[in-house]
Symmetry: D2
Subunit: 341 residues, 4 copies
């Protein structure tokens, strides 16, 4: 049974394993102060454009950990995060942000994205009254939880809005590679850097064994951040393990190549499904697609393929989630598509 | 410059890298529900003796994370942990336990260990008065922060004491392998299982890239523990990464062999230093030793060797920390010893 | 300008001030262990029926404090509270519950009440998956935030549902007096005791200077609760200050008389407004009413009366909140009513 | 049995009760925005000297609540408070500060006071290493937990030290009145204002029913503080209850007169005991004294008097704590003294 359940079913891209192996017996500093972590940070900074001394790059183990560490470090206890009602921090992190003491406010979404008017509605409902939390950090995911991708215009609009309202903009980039390499995407890493106060570049879901690179661009958020990484249990003794992986991912275009590979295969499936007449939960150019299928077809597919049934559409149809990754093989995808021919 | 600074300067034992590589393209369930994690848990349970269904084994990324996740899951908010004043959770985890809302109470130590009379003194100072926290969990490290190792008699005595006082006993096993393989040690993994409510088996400092195996033996502490792992950011999407490593460590005696190797080389140095007339901060049969040396000797050593100057003894002498690992080579150790001949 | 803004605009009922004065120079134990607090607890227990030894009564300063202390003491960190989207803990306590580490899940409401099907929808969305919080405590307010009152049948239904689903039922009783004395109410204090795991009887909004009486009926929630009161800053050195007030309120029927007085005057206004042809946001038999009025009328009223404009209904109408209290005078109410004649 | 156990055994000074009574039926704004709270704040600001617009005054219910609200609002999560090992926040607040996520670091004391060299020792042990918390706020109590009082020189020295080290200085003033009115005291309220970043003026232990006035002098700590008061459950609906009391205490010299009265009677006892040849735990010119007495004498005293046995001195002697208050009567004190004649 082949799985399209997620993009973390396999290990790491072979080049990453090789890098870990090649460096294995080097002695290095602990806790992310090793040369590989420093080199990886430098390579990432290069990609971000601008003055590379102006951003801080930290490596953490996973996405939930990165979100909770960053958000709790950035906010005072009366300040809240704002996300969509599909937001990973709101739904799927077991209250990790709340466990650090912060409320997560939500904006309803159908396409997974957050727009200024949605955030404005939250601000309107919180008019500076100390009986309510103070919305302070806007959290987006790019690509979103349902695979959609922000356009440059959307990001600029949201960023400008946040600036005007003195809100921080934080981007969860668990699947940032996929977003940046999506067909039609007009956003670059340098744009993300320019338009957010902090964001992270996901490794786990794009070819690494584990690891996320958090980039802090707002000076006011940088101070003492390593204390927070340690306090939240995210400072690895062998920090090199993540550093080496990101060094390999950004040594050349591997990070982008892997994302492009995943996107391409997801879109191959999407095309076939469109051609077969099916619609989708939302338009997704990234590595997660959410086709709406008759339940009978879903049952049939489940005999040979593993995937998540996402949501009920009506009595006879549901949406499913299909995810591809750097490890997905084109021949397998073509075999899957045959189910619809 | 060769480093004796710690036991996490290198990557992983080659067999572990090979295991990661061999399994790399397998598709597996996420979040620690994969077959390798299950197999690793089963192998560990076998080593623990008794009825293997009676313990839960969870894999987390690192020590601080394991400590904070376990302690915060085990305690209600008015309950406190008790450790020595050298305890890692008290000194070197950036207030991680306090950040989850719990006070850490301390007992002074010179040998790194916690004894019933020390814990009793804490109980005496907290006589059930709601104006003070309630001591509830006793946290030990084995081997301790300064390399000493608990005897079976000591553990049994502390465990009995905790049982009588309704205290939970939790063992930080970042260097449990080293403790269990120390010359003269009479404690087994099965003993640890029998005598504690929970403990963890450290992988990071004994040959793994990362990862700790938390064992919960007390039924009352098991419920819903995975929620806490997720909430604290410790549930890895590719949980297999830790599972595969522990599977390899416990498939045969690799875990113990690596610890024995590290201990042997630390003791080789210790013997030479004793022979050369130097004393030690405390008696340590494990892979961390703390010789007391003249400052002039220390300066000379620092030209070729990297290590931590631990504490000032008097105007002319300091203690240093020398740590060996699975990766330390005997020839290097012999070269180091020559400095004292 | 007379205020109908809330039920805490004045001080305390004169009998309460007199009781404070009469006992003023007595020396008493601190921290709620004084004889007046004990007597007040005993008087409350009598009203609760059943075996009075089976409940614990604690006195705290205010409603938010009581909610946050109780909920954080009752829940483990992965467990969440469930309330309506109008719930005070969700909207108007500055994230107090989240600040103790717990998510608050919501159910949409129009009448302010929570019903089993709404809670079931939350349970359906949280099917025992450790990536999401675990709904564990159902929080209702009676009377609700918009003045409605639970019927016995509704409470029994919700209580039975919670029991079946292993959910705790907790009632915020900031205005419990008003609920119990509402026209048509068929619920007694003894019912509340029987049907909830814990609830509080509000003093601040029913004639006291300050103070709420928390009643814990579920044995499993009682242990060490005073530690939590102290830890959250809610254990008053002069605990007698609240004890004396509740002793006076429950020495005879003062508590109920005051609530009945407030209700009666709110309903007098409500009748007049109904007669004048106005509708209401919801049906409220308690001391808070929410008539829907033309904005022109509201502007006119605002010249002589102080009240809160609650919500916009349409372009020309809004709902307002009118609150009466033990201190409201009938002649003032009759004068207010004249505005609509 | 007359009690010298504490200074909160009685209710409030009669003038305070009268003020509550006189204002009882006024309608006022809730949550501390009433005219009495504003007037009280203005009166306190006048006493503080300097530009009264430069400080913020907030009224809270009790000491533990004020400490936890202030400290958690002032610190980021990796920052720690520093106090003596007798410090109320360290010993007697059930881990309230830790429950908000912050470690409390300690300095040993015998006289109850904190000096720069003690704080420096804590700084030396925390040399900017992210594996340890960052000491950030120095918390003193004046008078201290054992009745001693800071001199102006001591406060200036500590304040200068904190300024140099970028540490915040916060003073717990539960018994600030007693300190300021102590024989030999050379510190004024204006000095406290000038030398700290924030402090509170205790009402509960100096004649009020309840209430503390928190003064924030450091601009950087003022923003959004009312959100924190609300979030921690410390914002009273009837905030006037504390406002009216402080208005009365500071309308003239009542606050100081009450403290002077309490001090005078404690010192009367102290003189008699000195004359009778007894020594004291420490030198205390305030309303708490700690004489060292033979256990046989203590047993005899306990027949007629209630007080706390503080600490064991040796096999035959213990220290006891005797506390006087605004309500203590001179004739009772003279009767007590007769026990030693």
């Amino acid at each position: 049974m082949y799985s399209f359940k997620n993009d973390y079913a396999e290990g790491a891209h072979p080049r990453i394993l090789k890098a870990l192996s090649d460096t294995n017996l080097e002695q290095s500093e602990g806790y992310g102060c090793d040369e590989h972590s420093l080199a990886a940070a430098a390579l990432i900074k290069e990609r971000l454009g601008g003055d590379s001394d102006k951003v801080d790059v930290h490596f953490l183990c996973g996405g939930t950990q990165t979100n909770l560490t960053a958000i709790s470090a950035f906010l005072r206890s009366h300040e809240a995060a704002v996300g969509t009602n599909m937001s990973h921090i709101f739904v799927h992190e077991t209250g990790a942000v709340e466990a650090t003491g912060h409320k997560v406010l939500t904006v309803p979404t159908t396409d997974g994205k957050l727009y200024p008017d949605g955030v404005q509605a939250v601000l309107d409902a919180h008019p500076g009254d100390e009986h309510m939390v103070k919305p302070r950090l806007v959290k987006i995911s790019n690509s979103t939880e349902i695979g959609s991708v922000y356009t440059l215009k959307e990001l600029e609009s949201l960023s400008r809005f946040c600036g005007e309202k003195k809100l921080l903009l934080y981007a969860d980039g668990a699947r940032l590679g996929s977003a940046l390499c999506a067909e039609g995407n007009d956003v670059t890493l340098a744009d993300i850097r320019r338009l957010t106060d902090a964001f992270y570049i996901g490794g786990t879901k794009n070819g690494a064994l584990l690891g996320e690179a958090l980039v802090i661009t707002n000076d006011a958020l940088k101070e003492d951040f390593r204390y927070h990484i340690k306090q939240k249990g995210a400072l690895m003794a062998k920090g090199r393990v993540v550093g080496i992986q990101f060094e390999e991912l950004f040594r050349d275009d591997l990070f982008f190549d892997l994302a492009r590979h995943a996107n391409g295969l997801a879109q191959l499936i999407a095309s076939a499904l469109k051609k077969a007449g099916y619609s989708f939960l939302t338009d997704s150019p990234s590595n997660q697609i959410f086709p709406i299928l008759p339940n009978s077809i879903i049952s049939k597919l489940q005999k040979n393929w593993s995937f998540i049934v996402w949501s009920k559409i009506d009595e006879s149809r549901s949406s499913i989630r299909l995810v591809t990754s750097w490890a997905t093989k084109e021949e397998v995808v073509r075999e899957f598509i045959k189910e619809f021919e």
